[in-house]
Amino acid sequence: MTLPWAAVAGGAVIGAAAVVLLATTGRVAGISGIAAGSVRAAPGERGWRWAFLLGLLAAAGLVLWWQAAPGQAPRALLRDALPAWQLVGAGLLVGFGTRLGNGCTSGHGVCGLARGSKRSLLAVLVFMACAMLTTFLIRHGGGLA
């Protein structure tokens, strides 16, 4: 069996990001919490969050630019198909849900599960199941017209 090396290497780098953030700032690398806190946290607590987000943007942009073929715009690597109302609807659900449930794929998935948190395990099982069911209904159950 051949391993999907880009996925394994990318995952390891994501895991390393969580370890570096914990080792230096003592914080959990949960993207929904960091993004929400970048505007909501006390003024002295915002700086490291903005630094994290800017680092994320810069590095993701660089890698996508490197992955693009010569003359191809990096954004052409990403999907551009979903109508705006669906993106807005899904965005609202993801924003509200991750605050209510205190985390997303990174905070509960990469960080919480790895620490053996029971809350994170339940959250991951619930959001994976709901996401798979939603995708199933949209793709095989008639869809959204």
Binding site: A18, A90, T134
Partner: protein, 137 residues
């Protein structure tokens, strides 16, 4: 700029590079994983397994220290018990994730290259944060 900010910027850069390297910035890969009845794409499982392995070993090693290098203490989530908010929040997040294929990290990463989808999704997600803070104390 403080040492903590430099460190957080480096951690963010690793996170963003890892996402893009693994192909997780494209929602088609995410939905390919979530669509277990279709043309299943296992990439996300490999990414998560690899991230978990590094994160589990690394966090265990880091938390043996007395304190983080740029702060006075570790600030881990304090909540222990399972409640309805956790389950409901995870369910709503899952529905949104399975709908468009974006969780917060990849959506924000899409902004870096001016993805039209990310430019709609991220402001709506921020509005979702705000609505939550208005509706739930």
């Amino acid at each position: 700029m403080s040492r903590a900010m430099v460190a957080a910027g480096a951690a963010g850069a690793l996170f963003g590079a890892g996402l893009a390297l693994a192909g997780m910035t494209d929602p088609r890969r995410i939905l390919g994983f979530l669509d277990i009845a279709g043309d299943f794409d296992p990439t996300l499982a490999w990414v998560l397994a690899s991230a978990l392995l590094v994160s589990a070993v690394g966090q265990r090693w880091v938390l043996r220290r007395a304190r983080p290098s740029c702060a006075t203490r570790f600030q881990l989530p304090a909540a222990r018990g399972v409640d309805l908010r956790l389950v409901l929040g995870a369910a709503l997040f899952g529905i949104g994730w399975g709908w468009a294929g974006y969780c917060p990290g990849p959506a924000i990463a899409g902004l870096a290259v001016g993805s039209r989808e990310a430019l709609w999704f991220v402001p709506a997600m921020l509005a979702g944060f705000w609505l939550h803070d208005r509706a739930v104390r």
